[in-house]
Structure formats: C-alpha cells, structure tokens
Amino acid sequence: MIRLTLSLGLILVAGSVPALAHHSFAAEYDETKPIKVTGTITKVEWTNPHVWYYVDVKGDDGKIVNYAFSAGAPGQLMRRGIMKKALEIGATISVEGFKAKDGSTNGFGAKVTYPDGRMVFTAGRPDDPKAP
C-alpha cells in the first residue's frame, strides 16, 4: 500500500503543486543553511497548519539527536497523493531541507528519500526542490 501511495505521489509531484502556505519560509528557516540527514522516524504529527515529522539521527560522536522537520499542510500533501502512510514510524529516511533560524534541531523538510531511491517532496516546489 505504501508503495502505491508513494508512486501516486511521485506521479503527482510532476505538476505544479503548493509548498508552504501558512506563513513565510523566511520567518523561520535559513536558506543559506541546507541540511541533509539520515535517520529513523520517531513521530509524525499529521496536523495543520503543517505536518511535522521527527527523525532520530546518529551523529559522528555516536549520540542520537532528534530532528523535527516541518512539511506542507496535510491537505496539500494529500492532494499530491502523499498520505500519512508515507511517513511510517520506524522507517529509515533521508531528509533534505533547511535549518531553522533559531539554531534548534528544527528544520524545513523539503525532500524525503527512501532507501530504495524513491523520493517525495514533503514541501518545497517539485519543479525547483531547492526553492522553499
């Protein structure tokens, strides 16, 4: 089922679809600080105004750090065929996005890549993934 859902999402992201709409990217995130981490999903908040997903990432020192990534609104993702099942707790994912301005471990989660290479854009503009 997850494979079907993700396939649908991958098809749909080819079109013009929304990114953030609730508020400005610039208020919270720093486009000069891109981030890419790989870890395990620990929690998912499929809520408005933004989906949040949390990822445990093992640092170079072996310590686990929990990152929180903000995505689009649930409706925006679902309209693209990306359902909550795309972010299953315990799954390993790589997240590309941007760090929060406040220096915390919060971030803007633009693109999620799965171990088999499939990817979905949880925010960002699919025709320009680097654009918030």
């Binding site: 013009s16 908040e45 809520t47 933004h50 409706g75």
Partner: protein, 264 residues
Amino acid sequence: MKKITMGLVLVTVALLAAAVLAPAAYAQSGGAAAMPAIPRTAEGKPDFNGTFQWPTPLAGSERGRGSATIFDRKNFAPLKPGGEAFLEPRTGDPRHDEPRDFCMPAGFPDAMLSGNAMQFFQTKNYLTIVHEFQRMTRIVPLDGRPHHTDLEPTFFGDPVGHWEGDTLVIETNGFRRWTLDEYYYTNPKEYRMHSDAMVTTERLKWKDKDSISYVLTIDDPKIFTRPWSQEFEIKAKPEWDKVGLFEYVCEENNRCPGGKCEGK
C-alpha cells in the same frame, strides 16, 4: 462543351473549398464560430461551480519562489510619495510583519493567491468562494445590492458582484490594512501591504471549458498613482471535486509562531 464542363467543375471545387475553409478562417479571426463551449447555468449564465486551482501567473510573469502566486511588480502603477511605506513596512515584529504566522487570516487578495485549492458555489444571487487555506470564505452577493456604507474595515472587505455579458465582475471595498500578496515568501526584505483605501475589481471569464481568465485590478489611492491590473489563469480541477477540500484548522498545531518553535 468540354470547356464548359471543366469550368463548372472548377467553380464547384472552388465553392466547396470555400465552404470548408470559411468557418476555419472565421474562427481564426475571432468570430462567433470561435466562441468556446463553456459551462452554463440553467439561466444561461456562465457556471463557475466547481473546484479550482488558485490563480497562477501567465507565462512570462513574475512567479516568485514557492508555489504561492505573487503580483508581477512590473504591473504596479507608479507609487505616490510615501507609498513605499506600504510596500516595505517591516518592523521586525513578527506579529506585524507576518501575522499569518499566528494563524491570522490571509484576507483578500492574499487568500486567493495562497497556493491552495478553492471551491466555488454559485447560485442566482450569490457566488461563495471557499479556500482550502484556513477554510476562508468569501460570500459575494450577485443580487444588485450596493456596498455597505457603515461597516468597519475587514480582512476580506465588502464584495458585490454583477454580470457584464459572460464576465462576472466583483468589486470589493472596506478592507483593513493588510497583506497585499504573498511576496514575503519571495523576498523577506519586502513585505507588501495595502491600505484601507484599497478597492479591488475582479473579472472572471471562462476562456474555455477548462480555464478562467482572472483579471484583478488594484486601486489603492494611498499607494499608487492609478489603478493597475494583472491577469491570471484559474484552472478547473474536476478531479479535485472528487475529494473535496481538506480541513484546515490553523490553530491545531501551530508550533512555530513568530519563528520560535515550541515543544516536540
């Protein structure tokens, strides 16, 4: 005799060719034959019922970053002296600079441009526009009533609509000073606001059965020397009708008001 026969054949061929080609030429010249079939109500008015994409810029217009639509600055009329204060009024206080961050409404025209689906409900006397974004709603009377004269300014203003042929014209006044468009998504150094003197005119007309021409005119005499307009396209999304609009309760989990994220 042979010559006469050949002449008749040539004339017949010429007439047939003219009969076949004339409608095409007429259509290319924009004649009545070029009128596209558009959705219509039982009364014969253009029918805007349905689910739509937000207005998107025409080719060549400034698009901005992200998906939310912005006005193309090239379309702006010259500013009046002091008009810059409405377009770059940032103070550093996020409650002023980005009130949407605190789940305040986008208002009009910002909600229309926010990059979210919208659904139109049309009756003889009303057009109601529901935005998926914050489930914001505009109710536009079409019964010929005048604007209110005694209301305090509001986020969405006081709209009234009327028909000009197949074009639905919506004129709105009574706005409070608020966000003009989504430019803050694009350029954090410039946050555009309109004044409480803004009057907007929207002109909606089906271009074909799949898309609406949406021309928005901004008349804000505190900022601009004259009204100015920009045309957008609104695409019908009948496939979105099947799922409808999703719920959007901004207060549900607004974790980062003002850029300061709380809790995990």
